[in-house]
Protein backbone atom coordinates (compact mmCIF):
# COMPACT_ATOMS: atom_id res chain seq x y z
CA UNK A 1 0.00 0.00 0.00
CA UNK A 2 2.57 2.55 1.10
CA UNK A 3 5.15 1.12 -1.27
CA UNK A 4 3.13 2.06 -4.34
CA UNK A 5 2.18 5.36 -2.82
CA UNK A 6 5.79 6.16 -2.03
CA UNK A 7 6.99 5.03 -5.42
CA UNK A 8 4.40 7.22 -7.12
CA UNK A 9 6.10 10.18 -5.49
CA UNK A 10 9.74 9.19 -5.83
CA UNK A 11 9.39 8.14 -9.45
CA UNK A 12 8.56 11.72 -10.34
CA UNK A 13 11.71 13.00 -8.68
CA UNK A 14 14.12 10.32 -9.87
CA UNK A 15 15.93 9.62 -13.10
CA UNK A 16 15.04 5.97 -13.03
CA UNK A 17 13.14 3.37 -11.11
CA UNK A 18 16.33 2.26 -9.34
CA UNK A 19 16.96 5.76 -8.16
CA UNK A 20 13.33 6.06 -7.10
CA UNK A 21 13.72 2.91 -5.01
CA UNK A 22 16.82 4.38 -3.39
CA UNK A 23 14.95 7.54 -2.49
CA UNK A 24 12.01 5.55 -1.20
CA UNK A 25 14.30 3.35 0.89
CA UNK A 26 15.95 6.44 2.33
CA UNK A 27 12.52 7.78 3.16
CA UNK A 28 11.38 4.54 4.77
CA UNK A 29 14.57 4.47 6.83
CA UNK A 30 13.69 7.91 8.11
CA UNK A 31 10.17 6.76 8.84
CA UNK A 32 11.37 3.72 10.78
CA UNK A 33 14.00 5.59 12.73
CA UNK A 34 11.75 8.54 13.50
CA UNK A 35 8.50 6.73 14.07
CA UNK A 36 8.45 8.01 17.64
CA UNK A 37 7.99 11.53 16.38
CA UNK A 38 4.83 10.58 14.54
CA UNK A 39 1.66 11.84 16.18
CA UNK A 40 -0.78 8.96 15.97
CA UNK A 41 -3.72 11.32 16.17
CA UNK A 42 -2.77 12.76 12.81
CA UNK A 43 -3.24 10.95 9.50
CA UNK A 44 -0.22 8.90 8.53
CA UNK A 45 -0.21 9.46 4.79
CA UNK A 46 0.52 13.21 4.81
CA UNK A 47 3.32 12.62 7.30
CA UNK A 48 4.76 9.92 5.08
CA UNK A 49 4.37 12.07 2.01
CA UNK A 50 6.19 14.93 3.68
CA UNK A 51 9.10 12.68 4.55
CA UNK A 52 9.26 11.22 1.06
CA UNK A 53 9.17 14.62 -0.60
CA UNK A 54 11.82 15.95 1.75
CA UNK A 55 13.98 12.93 1.03
CA UNK A 56 13.53 13.47 -2.67
CA UNK A 57 14.56 17.09 -2.25
CA UNK A 58 17.62 16.02 -0.31
CA UNK A 59 18.40 13.65 -3.11
CA UNK A 60 18.06 16.52 -5.54
CA UNK A 61 20.58 18.53 -3.53
CA UNK A 62 22.93 15.57 -3.50
CA UNK A 63 22.88 14.89 -7.22
CA UNK A 64 22.88 18.56 -8.14
CA UNK A 65 26.52 18.64 -7.00
CA UNK A 66 27.33 15.80 -9.38
CA UNK A 67 24.96 16.75 -12.09
CA UNK A 68 26.78 15.59 -15.15
CA UNK A 69 23.80 14.08 -16.89
CA UNK A 70 22.50 15.25 -20.17
CA UNK A 71 18.87 16.05 -19.97
CA UNK A 72 16.35 17.59 -22.18
CA UNK A 73 17.06 21.13 -21.12
CA UNK A 74 14.81 23.20 -23.29
CA UNK A 75 12.75 22.80 -26.36
CA UNK A 76 11.32 25.46 -28.55
CA UNK A 77 8.84 23.09 -30.01
CA UNK A 78 5.33 24.17 -29.39
CA UNK A 79 2.61 21.74 -28.48
CA UNK A 80 -0.95 22.39 -29.28
CA UNK A 81 -2.50 21.09 -26.11
CA UNK A 82 -5.95 21.45 -27.53
CA UNK A 83 -5.18 18.77 -30.09
CA UNK A 84 -3.80 16.24 -27.67
CA UNK A 85 -5.67 13.14 -26.72
CA UNK A 86 -4.57 13.55 -23.16
CA UNK A 87 -6.80 10.93 -21.69
CA UNK A 88 -5.02 8.19 -23.62
CA UNK A 89 -1.68 8.71 -21.95
CA UNK A 90 -0.70 6.13 -19.41
CA UNK A 91 0.78 6.82 -16.00
CA UNK A 92 4.03 5.12 -16.94
CA UNK A 93 4.40 7.37 -19.95
CA UNK A 94 3.84 10.43 -17.83
CA UNK A 95 6.49 9.33 -15.38
CA UNK A 96 8.86 8.55 -18.20
CA UNK A 97 8.44 12.05 -19.56
CA UNK A 98 9.01 13.63 -16.20
CA UNK A 99 12.13 11.59 -15.72
CA UNK A 100 13.54 12.94 -18.96
CA UNK A 101 13.57 16.42 -17.53
CA UNK A 102 16.69 17.68 -15.87
CA UNK A 103 16.61 17.34 -12.08
CA UNK A 104 16.24 21.06 -11.56
CA UNK A 105 13.27 21.36 -13.93
CA UNK A 106 11.72 18.16 -12.68
CA UNK A 107 11.98 19.09 -9.04
CA UNK A 108 10.46 22.53 -9.50
CA UNK A 109 7.70 21.07 -11.64
CA UNK A 110 6.85 18.42 -9.04
CA UNK A 111 6.92 20.82 -6.15
CA UNK A 112 4.82 23.41 -7.91
CA UNK A 113 2.36 21.30 -9.86
CA UNK A 114 1.97 18.17 -7.77
CA UNK A 115 2.88 19.20 -4.24
CA UNK A 116 1.36 22.65 -4.51
CA UNK A 117 4.25 24.75 -3.22
CA UNK A 118 4.54 28.39 -4.16
CA UNK A 119 7.58 29.73 -5.96
CA UNK A 120 8.75 31.51 -2.81
CA UNK A 121 8.66 28.23 -0.93
CA UNK A 122 10.35 26.32 -3.73
CA UNK A 123 13.08 28.93 -3.91
CA UNK A 124 13.70 28.53 -0.21
CA UNK A 125 13.58 24.73 -0.28
CA UNK A 126 15.94 24.35 -3.20
CA UNK A 127 18.16 27.30 -2.46
CA UNK A 128 17.45 29.06 -5.73
CA UNK A 129 15.94 32.40 -6.62
CA UNK A 130 12.23 32.86 -7.24
CA UNK A 131 13.00 33.84 -10.81
CA UNK A 132 14.92 30.63 -11.34
CA UNK A 133 12.03 28.66 -9.93
CA UNK A 134 9.57 30.31 -12.31
CA UNK A 135 11.97 29.89 -15.19
CA UNK A 136 12.53 26.23 -14.45
CA UNK A 137 8.81 25.60 -14.22
CA UNK A 138 8.21 27.30 -17.52
CA UNK A 139 10.95 25.32 -19.25
CA UNK A 140 9.74 22.09 -17.65
CA UNK A 141 6.26 22.62 -19.03
CA UNK A 142 7.60 23.53 -22.43
CA UNK A 143 9.68 20.37 -22.53
CA UNK A 144 6.80 18.24 -21.37
CA UNK A 145 4.59 19.68 -24.07
CA UNK A 146 7.24 18.81 -26.57
CA UNK A 147 7.46 15.28 -25.28
CA UNK A 148 3.70 14.89 -25.26
CA UNK A 149 3.55 16.07 -28.83
CA UNK A 150 6.15 13.54 -29.88
CA UNK A 151 4.31 10.78 -28.07
CA UNK A 152 1.08 11.60 -29.76
CA UNK A 153 2.50 11.71 -33.24
Amino acid sequence: MFYAYGMSITLRYANSREEAVDILNDAFMKVFTNIRTYNEHQPFKPWLRKIIVNTAINHYHKISRLDKWEYLEESNDKLSTESMALSGIQYDEIIEMVQQLSPSYRTVFNLYVIEGFKHEEIAEILGISIGTSKSNLSKAKRNLRSLLEKNLI
Binding site: Y3, A4, Y5, M7, S8, L11, R12, S16, E18, E19, V21, D22, L24, N25, F28, M29, F32, T33, L66, K68, T81, E82, L86, I89, Y91, I94, V98, F109, V113, I114, H119, K134, L137, S138, K141, L144, R145, L148
Partner: protein, 419 residues
Protein backbone atom coordinates in the same frame (compact mmCIF):
# COMPACT_ATOMS: atom_id res chain seq x y z
CA UNK B 1 4.07 32.22 -14.44
CA UNK B 2 0.74 31.21 -15.79
CA UNK B 3 0.66 34.30 -17.95
CA UNK B 4 3.68 33.12 -19.86
CA UNK B 5 1.92 30.09 -21.28
CA UNK B 6 -0.89 29.91 -23.69
CA UNK B 7 -2.69 27.28 -21.76
CA UNK B 8 -0.55 26.40 -18.78
CA UNK B 9 -3.19 24.70 -16.70
CA UNK B 10 -3.76 21.91 -19.18
CA UNK B 11 -0.28 20.49 -18.58
CA UNK B 12 -0.61 20.95 -14.85
CA UNK B 13 -4.04 19.36 -14.75
CA UNK B 14 -2.83 16.44 -16.83
CA UNK B 15 0.07 15.67 -14.54
CA UNK B 16 -1.95 16.27 -11.39
CA UNK B 17 -4.59 13.85 -12.59
CA UNK B 18 -2.18 11.21 -13.84
CA UNK B 19 -0.09 11.34 -10.68
CA UNK B 20 -3.06 9.98 -8.77
CA UNK B 21 -3.65 7.07 -11.13
CA UNK B 22 -0.59 5.16 -10.13
CA UNK B 23 -0.54 1.40 -10.17
CA UNK B 24 2.95 0.40 -9.30
CA UNK B 25 3.62 -3.31 -8.85
CA UNK B 26 5.49 -4.35 -5.75
CA UNK B 27 8.97 -5.74 -6.26
CA UNK B 28 10.41 -8.12 -3.72
CA UNK B 29 13.98 -7.04 -4.44
CA UNK B 30 13.15 -3.47 -3.46
CA UNK B 31 12.00 -4.63 -0.04
CA UNK B 32 15.05 -6.86 0.32
CA UNK B 33 17.27 -3.87 -0.18
CA UNK B 34 15.39 -2.00 2.49
CA UNK B 35 15.62 -4.96 4.84
CA UNK B 36 19.39 -5.06 4.43
CA UNK B 37 19.59 -1.41 5.31
CA UNK B 38 17.43 -1.95 8.35
CA UNK B 39 19.67 -4.78 9.48
CA UNK B 40 22.68 -2.55 8.96
CA UNK B 41 21.00 0.15 10.96
CA UNK B 42 20.33 -2.26 13.82
CA UNK B 43 23.95 -3.36 13.75
CA UNK B 44 25.09 0.25 13.91
CA UNK B 45 22.94 0.82 16.95
CA UNK B 46 24.30 -2.31 18.59
CA UNK B 47 27.89 -1.28 17.89
CA UNK B 48 27.20 2.20 19.19
CA UNK B 49 25.88 0.77 22.43
CA UNK B 50 28.84 -1.59 22.75
CA UNK B 51 31.27 1.18 22.07
CA UNK B 52 29.70 3.45 24.66
CA UNK B 53 29.82 0.65 27.20
CA UNK B 54 33.46 0.01 26.36
CA UNK B 55 34.30 3.69 26.75
CA UNK B 56 32.43 3.82 30.04
CA UNK B 57 34.29 0.75 31.27
CA UNK B 58 37.61 2.21 30.17
CA UNK B 59 36.89 5.49 31.91
CA UNK B 60 35.88 3.61 35.03
CA UNK B 61 39.04 1.53 35.01
CA UNK B 62 41.29 4.52 34.39
CA UNK B 63 39.50 6.54 37.06
CA UNK B 64 39.75 3.71 39.57
CA UNK B 65 43.40 3.04 38.89
CA UNK B 66 44.11 6.75 38.91
CA UNK B 67 42.40 7.16 42.25
CA UNK B 68 44.14 4.12 43.70
CA UNK B 69 47.47 5.40 42.44
CA UNK B 70 46.86 8.85 43.82
CA UNK B 71 45.69 7.51 47.14
CA UNK B 72 48.55 5.06 47.28
CA UNK B 73 51.13 7.75 46.65
CA UNK B 74 49.48 10.06 49.12
CA UNK B 75 49.61 7.45 51.83
CA UNK B 76 53.20 6.64 51.08
CA UNK B 77 54.14 10.29 51.07
CA UNK B 78 52.50 10.72 54.44
CA UNK B 79 54.25 7.65 55.70
CA UNK B 80 57.61 8.88 54.52
CA UNK B 81 56.93 12.26 56.02
CA UNK B 82 56.08 10.67 59.29
CA UNK B 83 59.20 8.57 59.28
CA UNK B 84 61.20 11.64 58.51
CA UNK B 85 59.61 13.63 61.26
CA UNK B 86 60.04 11.01 63.96
CA UNK B 87 62.89 11.94 66.28
CA UNK B 88 63.90 10.43 69.60
CA UNK B 89 62.15 11.91 72.56
CA UNK B 90 65.46 12.47 74.32
CA UNK B 91 68.15 12.71 71.71
CA UNK B 92 71.32 10.97 72.66
CA UNK B 93 74.34 11.72 70.47
CA UNK B 94 75.67 8.23 71.04
CA UNK B 95 72.54 6.68 69.67
CA UNK B 96 72.47 8.51 66.39
CA UNK B 97 75.30 6.74 64.67
CA UNK B 98 75.73 3.29 66.14
CA UNK B 99 73.01 1.78 68.21
CA UNK B 100 73.40 -1.44 70.05
CA UNK B 101 70.92 -3.14 72.31
CA UNK B 102 73.09 -2.37 75.24
CA UNK B 103 73.08 1.31 74.43
CA UNK B 104 69.36 1.57 74.20
CA UNK B 105 67.51 2.26 77.39
CA UNK B 106 64.18 2.11 75.67
CA UNK B 107 62.18 -1.03 75.35
CA UNK B 108 60.14 -2.13 72.40
CA UNK B 109 56.97 -1.54 74.28
CA UNK B 110 57.92 2.05 74.88
CA UNK B 111 58.62 2.47 71.25
CA UNK B 112 55.37 0.81 70.40
CA UNK B 113 53.47 3.30 72.47
CA UNK B 114 55.11 6.11 70.60
CA UNK B 115 54.71 4.40 67.29
CA UNK B 116 51.00 4.00 67.80
CA UNK B 117 50.63 7.70 67.91
CA UNK B 118 53.13 8.13 65.12
CA UNK B 119 51.34 5.69 62.92
CA UNK B 120 48.11 7.54 63.33
CA UNK B 121 49.87 10.73 62.45
CA UNK B 122 51.27 9.05 59.41
CA UNK B 123 47.81 8.46 58.12
CA UNK B 124 46.54 11.91 58.92
CA UNK B 125 49.27 14.48 58.50
CA UNK B 126 49.97 15.61 54.94
CA UNK B 127 53.51 15.48 53.71
CA UNK B 128 55.24 18.74 53.16
CA UNK B 129 58.88 17.93 52.77
CA UNK B 130 61.14 15.02 52.02
CA UNK B 131 64.70 14.46 52.92
CA UNK B 132 67.12 11.64 52.51
CA UNK B 133 66.19 8.79 54.79
CA UNK B 134 68.50 6.27 56.27
CA UNK B 135 67.97 3.82 59.03
CA UNK B 136 71.02 5.31 60.61
CA UNK B 137 68.74 8.16 61.56
CA UNK B 138 66.26 5.81 63.08
CA UNK B 139 67.81 4.53 66.31
CA UNK B 140 64.45 3.39 67.54
CA UNK B 141 64.40 0.68 64.89
CA UNK B 142 67.47 -0.83 66.46
CA UNK B 143 65.46 -1.56 69.52
CA UNK B 144 63.34 -3.90 67.57
CA UNK B 145 66.00 -6.51 67.64
CA UNK B 146 65.45 -6.85 71.36
CA UNK B 147 62.20 -8.55 70.76
CA UNK B 148 61.65 -10.82 67.79
CA UNK B 149 57.93 -10.91 68.40
CA UNK B 150 57.36 -7.20 68.10
CA UNK B 151 54.71 -7.63 65.49
CA UNK B 152 52.52 -9.54 67.86
CA UNK B 153 53.02 -6.98 70.58
CA UNK B 154 52.06 -3.95 68.68
CA UNK B 155 49.74 -4.23 65.69
CA UNK B 156 50.24 -0.59 64.79
CA UNK B 157 53.95 -1.01 64.57
CA UNK B 158 53.46 -4.22 62.73
CA UNK B 159 51.30 -2.45 60.19
CA UNK B 160 53.77 0.35 59.87
CA UNK B 161 56.62 -2.05 59.22
CA UNK B 162 54.58 -4.21 56.96
CA UNK B 163 53.89 -1.18 54.84
CA UNK B 164 57.50 -0.20 54.90
CA UNK B 165 58.90 -2.69 52.52
CA UNK B 166 61.01 -2.05 49.47
CA UNK B 167 62.78 0.96 50.82
CA UNK B 168 66.23 1.02 49.31
CA UNK B 169 68.80 1.28 52.02
CA UNK B 170 72.52 1.37 52.28
CA UNK B 171 74.21 -1.38 54.30
CA UNK B 172 76.22 1.23 56.10
CA UNK B 173 73.06 2.95 57.13
CA UNK B 174 71.46 -0.08 58.69
CA UNK B 175 71.73 -0.41 62.42
CA UNK B 176 73.88 -3.14 63.75
CA UNK B 177 72.62 -6.47 64.91
CA UNK B 178 69.17 -6.16 63.46
CA UNK B 179 67.21 -9.36 63.54
CA UNK B 180 67.04 -11.12 60.21
CA UNK B 181 63.31 -10.54 60.12
CA UNK B 182 63.80 -6.82 60.10
CA UNK B 183 66.68 -6.93 57.68
CA UNK B 184 64.49 -8.74 55.24
CA UNK B 185 61.76 -6.22 55.56
CA UNK B 186 61.13 -4.58 52.32
CA UNK B 187 60.26 -1.05 53.05
CA UNK B 188 57.65 0.21 50.72
CA UNK B 189 58.65 3.80 50.31
CA UNK B 190 58.25 4.49 46.59
CA UNK B 191 61.46 5.23 44.84
CA UNK B 192 59.88 8.28 43.29
CA UNK B 193 60.05 9.94 46.66
CA UNK B 194 63.80 9.96 46.62
CA UNK B 195 65.15 12.36 44.16
CA UNK B 196 68.82 11.48 44.50
CA UNK B 197 69.63 8.33 42.67
CA UNK B 198 72.89 7.83 44.53
CA UNK B 199 70.80 7.07 47.56
CA UNK B 200 69.98 3.68 46.15
CA UNK B 201 72.45 0.92 46.47
CA UNK B 202 72.30 -2.60 45.26
CA UNK B 203 72.10 -5.16 48.02
CA UNK B 204 70.76 -8.06 46.08
CA UNK B 205 73.45 -10.36 47.25
CA UNK B 206 74.57 -12.19 50.31
CA UNK B 207 76.75 -10.07 52.52
CA UNK B 208 80.10 -11.70 53.10
CA UNK B 209 81.41 -9.41 55.72
CA UNK B 210 80.47 -6.74 58.12
CA UNK B 211 77.59 -6.62 60.48
CA UNK B 212 75.28 -8.33 57.96
CA UNK B 213 77.46 -11.32 57.27
CA UNK B 214 75.35 -14.22 56.21
CA UNK B 215 72.24 -12.17 55.75
CA UNK B 216 70.59 -11.98 52.40
CA UNK B 217 68.96 -8.81 51.26
CA UNK B 218 66.62 -8.15 48.47
CA UNK B 219 66.71 -4.44 48.16
CA UNK B 220 65.83 -2.90 44.83
CA UNK B 221 68.18 -0.35 43.52
CA UNK B 222 67.42 2.43 41.09
CA UNK B 223 70.86 1.96 39.66
CA UNK B 224 69.88 -1.53 38.61
CA UNK B 225 66.87 -0.46 36.59
CA UNK B 226 67.65 -0.89 32.91
CA UNK B 227 67.07 2.23 30.90
CA UNK B 228 66.29 0.55 27.62
CA UNK B 229 63.97 -2.25 26.67
CA UNK B 230 62.77 -3.78 23.45
CA UNK B 231 59.55 -5.66 22.92
CA UNK B 232 57.82 -7.75 20.32
CA UNK B 233 54.13 -6.88 20.10
CA UNK B 234 51.05 -8.30 18.41
CA UNK B 235 47.48 -7.18 18.42
CA UNK B 236 44.32 -7.90 16.49
CA UNK B 237 43.04 -4.77 14.81
CA UNK B 238 39.44 -3.67 14.75
CA UNK B 239 39.18 -0.58 12.59
CA UNK B 240 36.09 1.45 11.83
CA UNK B 241 35.47 4.52 9.76
CA UNK B 242 33.29 5.65 12.62
CA UNK B 243 32.38 4.21 15.96
CA UNK B 244 28.92 3.18 14.89
CA UNK B 245 29.87 1.52 11.64
CA UNK B 246 29.50 -2.26 11.53
CA UNK B 247 32.38 -4.60 12.06
CA UNK B 248 34.58 -5.73 9.27
CA UNK B 249 37.24 -8.39 9.01
CA UNK B 250 39.82 -8.34 11.75
CA UNK B 251 43.27 -7.08 10.88
CA UNK B 252 46.44 -7.16 12.87
CA UNK B 253 49.30 -5.05 14.15
CA UNK B 254 52.69 -6.67 14.49
CA UNK B 255 56.12 -5.34 15.21
CA UNK B 256 58.63 -4.02 17.68
CA UNK B 257 58.39 -1.45 20.39
CA UNK B 258 61.23 0.05 22.32
CA UNK B 259 61.30 2.32 25.30
CA UNK B 260 63.79 4.41 27.17
CA UNK B 261 63.38 5.35 30.79
CA UNK B 262 63.64 9.09 31.24
CA UNK B 263 62.49 9.25 34.84
CA UNK B 264 61.35 6.89 37.51
CA UNK B 265 57.86 6.54 36.10
CA UNK B 266 58.15 8.02 32.65
CA UNK B 267 59.37 6.29 29.52
CA UNK B 268 59.90 7.43 25.98
CA UNK B 269 58.42 4.92 23.57
CA UNK B 270 58.81 4.30 19.87
CA UNK B 271 57.84 1.46 17.62
CA UNK B 272 57.84 -0.02 14.18
CA UNK B 273 54.73 -2.00 13.34
CA UNK B 274 53.22 -3.47 10.24
CA UNK B 275 49.45 -3.16 10.31
CA UNK B 276 46.79 -4.76 8.19
CA UNK B 277 43.66 -2.69 8.50
CA UNK B 278 40.17 -3.50 7.28
CA UNK B 279 37.44 -0.92 7.32
CA UNK B 280 34.28 0.09 5.53
CA UNK B 281 33.58 3.66 4.53
CA UNK B 282 30.37 5.25 3.36
CA UNK B 283 30.15 7.62 0.42
CA UNK B 284 30.50 10.58 2.75
CA UNK B 285 33.60 9.18 4.44
CA UNK B 286 35.43 8.04 1.33
CA UNK B 287 37.05 10.95 -0.47
CA UNK B 288 39.23 9.81 -3.35
CA UNK B 289 40.75 12.35 -5.71
CA UNK B 290 38.06 14.13 -7.70
CA UNK B 291 39.45 13.15 -11.07
CA UNK B 292 38.84 9.50 -10.33
CA UNK B 293 35.18 8.96 -9.67
CA UNK B 294 33.71 11.17 -12.41
CA UNK B 295 30.39 11.37 -10.68
CA UNK B 296 29.95 7.73 -9.75
CA UNK B 297 30.01 7.78 -5.97
CA UNK B 298 30.23 4.35 -4.35
CA UNK B 299 27.74 3.88 -1.57
CA UNK B 300 30.13 1.69 0.33
CA UNK B 301 33.86 1.20 0.12
CA UNK B 302 35.66 -1.74 1.66
CA UNK B 303 39.31 -1.14 2.28
CA UNK B 304 42.26 -3.39 3.05
CA UNK B 305 45.36 -1.39 3.82
CA UNK B 306 48.86 -2.46 4.71
CA UNK B 307 50.38 0.26 6.79
CA UNK B 308 53.77 0.84 8.34
CA UNK B 309 52.93 2.37 11.69
CA UNK B 310 55.63 4.31 13.53
CA UNK B 311 54.38 5.49 16.90
CA UNK B 312 56.32 7.73 19.23
CA UNK B 313 55.09 8.75 22.62
CA UNK B 314 55.27 8.42 26.35
CA UNK B 315 54.50 5.69 28.83
CA UNK B 316 53.75 6.38 32.45
CA UNK B 317 53.73 3.76 35.18
CA UNK B 318 50.62 4.45 37.18
CA UNK B 319 50.85 1.85 39.86
CA UNK B 320 53.76 -0.38 40.80
CA UNK B 321 53.55 -3.69 42.55
CA UNK B 322 56.30 -6.13 43.45
CA UNK B 323 56.44 -7.85 40.10
CA UNK B 324 53.93 -5.98 38.02
CA UNK B 325 52.57 -2.57 37.24
CA UNK B 326 49.76 -0.70 35.55
CA UNK B 327 50.68 1.86 32.96
CA UNK B 328 49.17 4.12 30.38
CA UNK B 329 50.60 5.47 27.16
CA UNK B 330 49.92 8.32 24.79
CA UNK B 331 51.56 8.48 21.40
CA UNK B 332 51.31 9.89 17.92
CA UNK B 333 51.51 7.50 15.02
CA UNK B 334 52.81 8.18 11.56
CA UNK B 335 51.28 6.01 8.85
CA UNK B 336 53.17 5.00 5.75
CA UNK B 337 50.81 3.34 3.30
CA UNK B 338 52.40 0.19 1.88
CA UNK B 339 49.45 -1.09 -0.08
CA UNK B 340 45.79 -0.12 -0.43
CA UNK B 341 42.96 -2.13 -1.91
CA UNK B 342 39.48 -0.69 -2.25
CA UNK B 343 36.36 -2.42 -3.50
CA UNK B 344 33.16 -0.52 -4.14
CA UNK B 345 29.46 -1.17 -3.81
CA UNK B 346 26.78 0.85 -5.53
CA UNK B 347 23.09 1.01 -4.93
CA UNK B 348 22.43 2.83 -8.19
CA UNK B 349 23.44 1.72 -11.63
CA UNK B 350 26.24 3.73 -13.13
CA UNK B 351 27.87 3.30 -16.48
CA UNK B 352 31.52 2.23 -16.43
CA UNK B 353 31.68 2.33 -12.68
CA UNK B 354 34.89 1.01 -11.13
CA UNK B 355 34.51 -2.11 -8.99
CA UNK B 356 37.83 -1.95 -7.21
CA UNK B 357 41.18 -0.27 -7.28
CA UNK B 358 44.65 -0.98 -5.95
CA UNK B 359 46.91 1.83 -4.89
CA UNK B 360 50.58 1.57 -4.12
CA UNK B 361 51.83 5.12 -4.01
CA UNK B 362 53.47 4.98 -0.58
CA UNK B 363 51.70 8.00 0.76
CA UNK B 364 52.89 9.29 4.11
CA UNK B 365 50.76 10.64 6.91
CA UNK B 366 52.95 12.04 9.64
CA UNK B 367 51.68 12.08 13.22
CA UNK B 368 48.11 11.69 12.13
CA UNK B 369 46.78 9.24 14.71
CA UNK B 370 46.59 9.72 18.45
CA UNK B 371 47.19 6.47 20.30
CA UNK B 372 45.93 5.94 23.82
CA UNK B 373 46.36 2.78 25.80
CA UNK B 374 46.16 1.38 29.26
CA UNK B 375 48.00 -1.76 30.19
CA UNK B 376 49.34 -4.19 32.70
CA UNK B 377 52.90 -5.45 32.80
CA UNK B 378 54.14 -8.52 34.64
CA UNK B 379 57.75 -9.46 35.29
CA UNK B 380 58.39 -12.97 34.01
CA UNK B 381 62.06 -12.75 34.90
CA UNK B 382 64.19 -9.82 36.05
CA UNK B 383 64.90 -9.02 32.41
CA UNK B 384 61.73 -10.09 30.67
CA UNK B 385 58.17 -8.86 31.04
CA UNK B 386 54.87 -9.57 29.39
CA UNK B 387 52.27 -6.89 28.76
CA UNK B 388 48.67 -6.66 27.79
CA UNK B 389 47.74 -3.28 26.44
CA UNK B 390 44.27 -2.44 25.12
CA UNK B 391 44.49 0.59 22.85
CA UNK B 392 42.51 2.97 20.74
CA UNK B 393 43.85 4.97 17.81
CA UNK B 394 42.01 8.20 17.04
CA UNK B 395 42.41 9.85 13.64
CA UNK B 396 43.71 13.38 13.43
CA UNK B 397 43.37 13.47 9.67
CA UNK B 398 42.40 11.22 6.79
CA UNK B 399 44.58 8.36 5.65
CA UNK B 400 45.37 6.83 2.30
CA UNK B 401 44.07 7.37 -1.17
CA UNK B 402 40.50 7.64 0.04
CA UNK B 403 41.48 10.15 2.73
CA UNK B 404 39.40 8.21 5.24
CA UNK B 405 39.49 8.95 8.93
CA UNK B 406 39.31 5.61 10.66
CA UNK B 407 39.53 4.51 14.27
CA UNK B 408 41.37 1.45 15.42
CA UNK B 409 40.98 -0.61 18.53
CA UNK B 410 42.74 -3.69 19.77
CA UNK B 411 44.87 -5.12 22.52
CA UNK B 412 48.60 -5.59 22.28
CA UNK B 413 50.27 -8.57 23.85
CA UNK B 414 54.00 -8.06 24.00
CA UNK B 415 57.14 -9.64 25.34
CA UNK B 416 59.69 -7.10 26.46
CA UNK B 417 63.35 -7.58 27.16
CA UNK B 418 65.52 -5.31 29.24
CA UNK B 419 68.68 -4.38 27.38
Amino acid sequence: MQDEDKNPDSIERLFQKKSEEYQIPFREEDWNRLEKRLELHDMQIAYRVKFRLAVAALILIISTVGYVTFDHNNRLNKLAEQIQDVTPQEPNPNESSNISPQDSPQSLSQFSENSTQDTDQVLESPPNRLEKLTLEDRPEFAMLQQDGDFRARDPHLSQLLTNLHHIPVSPASLPLDLPSEFIELRLMIPTSMFEQSDFFTSLDEEQSSGPFEGAHYTVYSENQTPNLSLGFAYSPDFSRSNFSSPGNRTGYRLGFKGEYQISKHLFLQAGLLVSKVHYTASSQQYNPPEYWNSGSVPDETNAICMILDIPIGLKYNLLNFNNSRFFSTAALSSYFMLNEEYSFKYSTEYVDRPENIKINNGSKHLLNHLNLSFGYEYDLTPNMTIRTEPFIHLPISGVGWGDVRFYSMGGFVSLNFQM
